[in-house]
């Protein structure tokens, strides 16, 4: 397949910052990030001043910026912790967004080369996805691969890829019970594959390392499912899992693709899984209801944009999950509010920067 040339000015790298000292993070990522424009969102709950090294093209948004743009107080509440990054998606003007957690550094591939997470995500997003039939040689658009015998020719043009889900070496994205039971387990397996997650198949999308086409699906990446005791460790949240499943339903409905696999990031050691067990147990329980819901939700033909889809999903959430737990009713409302906010921000002139 032809080499993909990345148009640097089509990309925003959005980082939600939960740790004030960004020095080592930014230095580790300098070889990859220095080409691109960065949007840094400071967690509104973070009190300390951010420390960011020189030499990057970036904009920083803090609590005051968020509160200026996001007037309804519920949205402001939702944009703390990991969810602060959604503000970055809201204000970005670019086509592609790459978002990484601030406790990740670049990984190295099997040959020892630094993984350029941005280029790989953009490559995934700018080559077609193939959700309607599984290719056993994985992504057929990768160099050295193709569609295998038996793959229908009519399905070989694929569809636009809207979401690229990357993976993690070292600390994998396990939930608290799993990590607590296997405290020493680290992911050292570098799987050299990108594959399309088939249509109608649900998956847990981890927010740690993603890329997406903001023009196609931007409004569907939203802060909605907030746990009562949500914390600042990934295994104390499920907001990205919720958002990812909404996104998969949206993509399936709009005939867009979702890829999973490369690129990898290296996730640093952090937190105590056993301590976190208390906070995230709620999330683990909720998944039992959430997954069957998303597997069965159907959208109408009238839903032709990501916004339309989100609104319909929100209504279904309110009707079917709302009665089960107030967290769902709040999530449904947050989704509706977010879509409204997205429309408002889109029609205004670009918000001023810090």
């Amino acid at each position: 397949m032809a080499q993909v040339s990345i148009k640097d000015n089509e990309v925003d790298v959005v980082i939600g910052v939960l740790h004030a000292d960004m020095t080592s993070f930014m230095e580790e990522w300098r070889p990859v990030f220095s080409r691109f424009h960065l949007i840094i969102i400071k967690d509104p709950d973070l009190k300390d001043e951010l420390r960011i090294p020189e030499g990057f093209n970036l904009h920083v948004y803090t609590k005051s910026d968020i509160e200026r743009v996001v007037r309804p107080s519920s949205a402001s509440l939702l944009l703390s912790g990991y969810s602060c990054r959604y503000f970055g998606y809201l204000v970005s003007q670019k086509k592609y967004i790459i978002s990484i957690d601030d406790d990740c550094i670049p990984a190295r591939d099997s040959d020892g080369n630094l993984v350029d997470v941005v280029t790989q995500h953009v490559t995934n997003l700018t080559t077609p996805a193939t959700p309607f039939f599984f290719n056993t040689l994985y992504d057929p658009y990768r160099k050295g691969a193709d569609f295998v015998r038996g793959y229908p020719f009519s399905l070989r043009s694929g569809v636009t890829c809207a979401l690229s889900c990357g993976l993690w070496l070292n600390l994998a994205d396990y939930d608290a019970p799993t990590q607590a039971l296997k405290p020493g387990q680290r992911n050292s397996r570098y799987v050299d594959a990108v594959l399309t997650v088939p249509a109608k198949v649900m998956m847990p999308v981890s927010g740690i390392n993603i890329g997406f086409d903001r023009e196609m699906v931007g409004p569907a990446l939203l802060p909605a499912l907030r746990l009562a005791r949500e914390g600042n460790l990934r295994w104390e949240t499920v907001e990205d899992i919720w958002c990812g499943m909404c996104l998969k339903v949206v993509c399936d409905h709009l005939r867009l693709g979702v890829k999973s696999g490369l690129p990898y990031v290296w996730r640093k050691e952090r937190g105590d899984a056993i301590e976190s067990l208390q906070k995230e147990w709620e999330g683990v329980k909720l998944m039992e209801e959430v997954v069957p819901f998303f597997q069965s939700v159907r959208l109408s033909r009238a839903a032709v944009t990501a916004e339309d889809c989100v609104v319909e999903i929100a209504e279904a959430v309110k009707q079917r999950l709302g009665p089960l737990d107030p967290v769902f009713a709040r999530a449904a409302q947050a989704m509706v509010d977010w879509v409204k906010l997205w429309k408002v921000v889109r029609t205004q002139s670009p918000p001023s920067v810090a």
């Binding site: 039939f133 050295g144 193709d146 015998r149 793959y151 570098y190």
Partner: protein
């Protein structure tokens, strides 16, 4: 929670048969000797039955040529292809074992990135003995592999998985491309070792290649009919595809799992793309009808065994695909013949293919 212990993989030497179709010779077995010698081989000789196929010393095997197939099946032998490796499914039928591993005679031992030789059979056994997870995609691939697990967000109620019926391996060097792709990319070689096994999700179809394949014969055997190909047939090189699509619909219905990925073998021989094109030609058009057919195929609650599922599928093939070409009517007949022959030869099994709590959609 996924299994954490690293116990050695059982050999299963008395529970697994290796089925090999061949028309040339079996020299390739020398390279596999360290891995295959403990096992019983079923060799299905295609082509001229008067040719003597030399089997390397030291292997325990039974060999069937066309005369044997005709003798054993009588008129039902019509369902077994002639002059096509599809004849291998005769080997599945006569086997008495729980597991089958089938491999082509131009497939050799591959090496992993560290240079170590890959014991493909051992990996297939691992795949078959651990559950599959078809209901929700795990982004870290097979959660039962050492060093992996279910990721955050994966519902605990789905972590037991379902029994694995099929393990589909891959190939380094000559990739399994169709003729048009081979013609356009004659030099392309698969050099990418992807260190993953994954479950093909429920509701998702895939092209199953028969070159490096293992399955649980007790769970899914009757669905592994490789169709009517080769001599006297309008199509070739779609035997494994056909079996794979039927199999997947049935596995989805009976809640059995299908894995793909490791192990790799080294595929050494590129078949002639012009010969392939002639064989595949009709298939390339027909698959445009076949895929929607299989994607839409549903089986009723009454289909609680593989045989019942297969018979029901054959009715749908006759009714819907019969309109595409008369070949499918012949194929539907052959599917029924296959099931009759299977049941006759496997009478002793009785209800072993029925799942304990019956399958429901």
């Amino acid at each position: 929670m996924a299994e954490t212990s690293v116990s050695p993989t059982p050999l299963l030497k008395d529970e697994l048969d290796i089925v090999i179709p061949t028309i040339r010779n079996l020299d390739f077995l020398e390279m596999w000797r360290p891995f295959f010698q403990p096992y019983h081989l079923i060799i299905v000789q295609d082509g001229d039955p008067s040719k003597v196929i030399k089997v390397p010393e030291g292997f325990d095997y039974e060999l069937y040529n066309r005369n044997d197939i005709n003798r054993i099946l009588g008129p039902k032998a019509s369902c077994i292809s002639f002059k096509d490796s599809a004849c291998r499914c005769f080997g599945y039928m006569v086997s008495k074992k729980k597991y089958i591993f089938t491999i082509d005679d131009d497939c050799f031992v591959a090496k992993d990135p560290s240079g170590k030789e890959i014991n493909a059979l051992e990996q297939h056994i691992k795949n078959l003995l651990t559950p599959s997870t078809p209901f929700f995609f795990n982004t870290l691939y097979d959660p039962y592999r050492e060093g992996a697990d279910f990721v955050r967000g994966y519902p605990f109620s789905l972590r037991e998985g379902v029994p694995t019926a099929v393990s589909h391996g891959l190939w380094l060097n000559i990739p399994d491309y169709d003729a048009p792709t081979q013609l356009v990319k004659p030099r392309e070689r698969n050099t990418r070792f992807v260190d993953a096994v994954l479950t093909i999700p429920k509701g998702t179809l895939f092209p199953m290649c028969g070159m490096n394949l293992a399955f649980n014969r007790e769970l899914i055997g009757p669905a592994m009919y490789f169709g009517l190909m080769g001599d006297g047939q309008p199509i070739g090189r779609y035997d494994d595809m056909w079996a794979g699509w039927c199999m997947k619909v049935i596995c989805d219905h009976l809640e059995l799992g299908v894995k793909t990925g490791l192990p790799y073998i080294w595929h050494s021989k590129a078949s002639n793309p012009f010969v392939n094109l002639k064989k595949e030609y009709k298939g390339i058009y027909w698959q445009e009808e076949l895929i929607p057919f299989f994607q839409a195929a549903t089986l009723t609650e009454e289909c609680t065994t593989v045989q019942k599922c297969y018979i029901e599928l054959s009715k749908q093939v006759r009714a819907k695909l019969g309109k595409v070409d008369d070949y499918f009517i012949k194929l539907a007949d052959a599917m029924l013949t296959w099931i009759e022959a299977w049941d006759e030869l496997n009478q002793a099994e009785g209800d072993s293919t029925e799942l304990p709590n019956g399958a429901k959609k």
